[in-house]
Symmetry: C2
Subunit: 445 residues, 2 copies
């Protein structure tokens, strides 16, 4: 009954019972997602996938964000899902490592733009979609992830299908079929990390979820016990699934309120050190003033990001030395602080070499201590207790605006950026999502 | 190195080293596959999927067999893959339960029709594709299947991608990327059996393989150790993978020569009993002449197909009583012997009730003994030793022609049927696959 009960909720849960606070979190997720999707939209892998769409004669139905072109709904979903995960800068549920937005928003947005859906049902469908995918993720984490599945790809299709079923107004029976068709298409091996195929996962999950909903809408049949059957999804993809999170009552607490957003475009373990660097920057301390730095970090930091002399963009993201240095020099660690020229910049290299990182086992994962000795002989200590973006210190709405502005600056003009931000905060009153997709196009410049 | 070595073979194996006997088996597979694909092309699930393609504005690139319409390459691949598995009447490797053609031919045929590929490279690419998917299937069977994966869906994408890489002339490096992109998209839970989602599996596998090849062709990157890595495909989808079949030398023996074809449109366990029934039919014995029948069968037969009074098409396929009765009355058990009117036909019901089936533990799975008592008092015994279609008694080329004719008779006229058969046997000299796809259209009637 697990699958059917979930399908009932998807089809019939009273949308007005979703609190405004939760809808606001959906807007925050959307602004964050739009920024990362537009920001990475000109990555070479996007050109490649667009070439494939063109070779298939893909129809002009929905926008590729940041590109000024449209493809059919399936490719728009695939491509926007890819671009939003390319920078590894999208949102995260820390308890499952699920990136909730990348597989759900692309499918909902393509459909909404094509069908002229209004903002409020769009946000509500997103809340339902995230609720479904995160519950399923909780049922199979960590065994599923440990086995080698990229959980964002492997459960993302459920979220996309669930949200679309509601937007399409499908019956509980059709919604159950959609969940079944989604269940049979898990996508994403962790082995692909470090290649273009990693961001392909949420895109493909979103596209699979869209296909599932479109087929279910036509009456296509599937198992009504796709999740819980002896050889159903839960049993096939992990050792000891716990169906309790999927079966829990609806409406008491919403998964989405636990969403977190990265302030920095790199692995979360480096974020406390970057915070400390940004504090120095804001205190007016420049790299030229620094004699040496000792950085105390959680053991995982050196295990995962101990690269002293990074030479590529990806290596720099796995170097706490680089991360801290750009925090001090630029007061930021957006995608641009990891660009090739920045990684090879003499000032950054010089400052990286002044940093010594040591393990302090007293520190939690979201903590760090930075001790700087200045050339004047003066010392300065920054103690980071709960780094920005962690649950105890979430990004403010203004922080999210700043992140969006940084990510989209190379592609969108100021007026478009400001109008998008304004329309996202007023999304529950927006008549038609196509206004926002129209603004996310570079040719306005 | 396993993935890269496989990619090297895909890209560089000398095609002229494939023996003519193997190419002939590819032709047999193709004729069998065309018949089942055309035969089921008007199933309601096909209408549903075509509606989805139309709603996405799918371009007119490749034919849906039996339908007289074209869609883009992805949907043509998905749809022809679906239709060829709807009747559960396609080919099988008995050692892995892999149905090799359904995920490979659709992708190759869509590409070949669109690009004007000739018959010989098409057949050679099919041989390579089947070689790859069956080797991978052997590496993970039976643990993978036991866990709940529908192996035809979960490894099919490798076969489609491999064949296409060769047809497209991709480099070993690009072929390795294609295998990686295929690896990350396993499709198909056995839980879906009995629903429209089952035949969706080979179709989606084929489409995923096509997408993998198209992306790889553009330079899209993936893991070069997708199969063998610690968290690669083999380790993620089964308990104790055995990489030896994948690593075995090429060119000594070809997987395709072990392909088998079903003479009857139902589960293989009933086939010996049907053989016995068909022998009675050919001996001129009618249902009216029969007083009673005792059927001795392998234990699995009653376990899997013991339904005495079937009422639907699907139930009839799981009734050895129905199967044997139509064998006697019609001398056949094609898809039409399981149509609703046949299941409820008074003569068939009468004869079903005269049959008693008993287990004989001396019999192998491809054996049966039928003892008929006629109204004259005369008795007649048929001992089936190696049923038609099993490895010891393969379908002849003429049997395959007959099967094709039966399956396509409602849709294609005699001249088209005959020309298709002739062109398949001469496929190594065919200049362009589009001639055959053009013949597989109903509007010729």
């Amino acid at each position: 009954m697990l699958t059917q009960e979930l399908a009932d909720k998807i089809a019939t849960f009273p949308l007005d019972a979703i609190p405004e606070q939760v809808l606001h979190e959906a807007k925050r997720s959307f602004l964050n997602w739009l920024g990362v999707a537009v920001g990475a939209s000109h990555h070479p892998s996007m050109d490649m996938a667009l070439n494939v769409a063109a070779s298939l004669g893909s129809a002009s139905q929905a926008s590729i964000l940041g590109r000024g072109v449209k493809t059919d709904l399936l490719f728009a979903t695939l491509l926007n899902g890819m671009s939003s995960h390319i920078f590894d800068y999208d949102d995260t549920f820390l308890d499952t490592i699920l990136h909730p937005s990348a597989p759900v928003f692309p499918a909902l947005l393509a459909w909404a733009e094509h069908q002229g859906v209004a903002g409020r049902p769009f946000l509500q469908a997103f809340v339902l979609g995230v609720e479904v995918e995160q519950r399923i993720a909780q049922a199979i984490y960590p065994s599923h992830y440990d086995r080698g599945w990229h959980i964002t790809g492997s459960v993302g299709a459920f979220g996309a299908a669930a949200g679309l079923c509601r937007l399409m107004g499908l019956s509980p029976q059709h919604a159950a079929n959609a969940l079944g068709i989604a269940a049979t298409q898990p996508t994403g091996l962790r082995e692909m990390f470090g290649t273009m195929t990693k961001p392909f996962h949420p895109g493909k999950a979103a596209a699979n979820g869209l296909l599932a909903a479109l087929l279910a809408r036509e009456g296509f049949t599937s198992s009504a016990s796709a999740l819980e059957a002896n050889r159903g999804f839960l049993a096939v993809v992990c050792e000891n699934p716990d169906p309790a999170p999927v079966a829990a009552p609806w409406g008491e607490k919403w998964q989405l309120v636990n969403n977190t957003y990265k302030p920095y475009a790199c692995g979360v373990v480096t974020h406390p050190a970057i915070d400390a660097g940004v504090r120095l920057h804001r205190a007016g301390i420049t790299d030229a003033m620094v004699e040496s730095i000792v950085l105390e970090v959680h053991p995982l930091v050196l295990e995962l990001t101990g690269k002293k002399e990074p030479r590529t963009q990806l290596e720099a993201k796995f170097s706490v030395y680089h991360c801290t240095a750009v925090g001090i020099i630029d007061g930021a660690a957006t995608e641009w602080q990891f660009a090739a020229e920045k990684v090879l910049d003499a000032r950054v290299i010089g400052l990286r070499r002044k940093i010594t990182a040591v393990v302090n086992r007293q520190l939690a994962e979201n903590q760090a201590v930075l001790k700087a000795t200045l050339k004047t002989g003066e010392t300065r200590t920054e103690v980071v207790d709960a780094c920005l973006g962690s649950r105890g210190n979430p990004l403010s709405d203004r922080d999210l605006e700043e992140k969006f502005l940084n990510l989209t600056r190379p592609l969108l003009d100021d007026a478009a950026q400001r109008e998008i931000i304004e329309r996202v905060w007023g999304l529950d009153r927006e008549a038609n999502l196509s206004r926002i997709t129209g603004l996310c196009q570079p040719e306005r410049r």
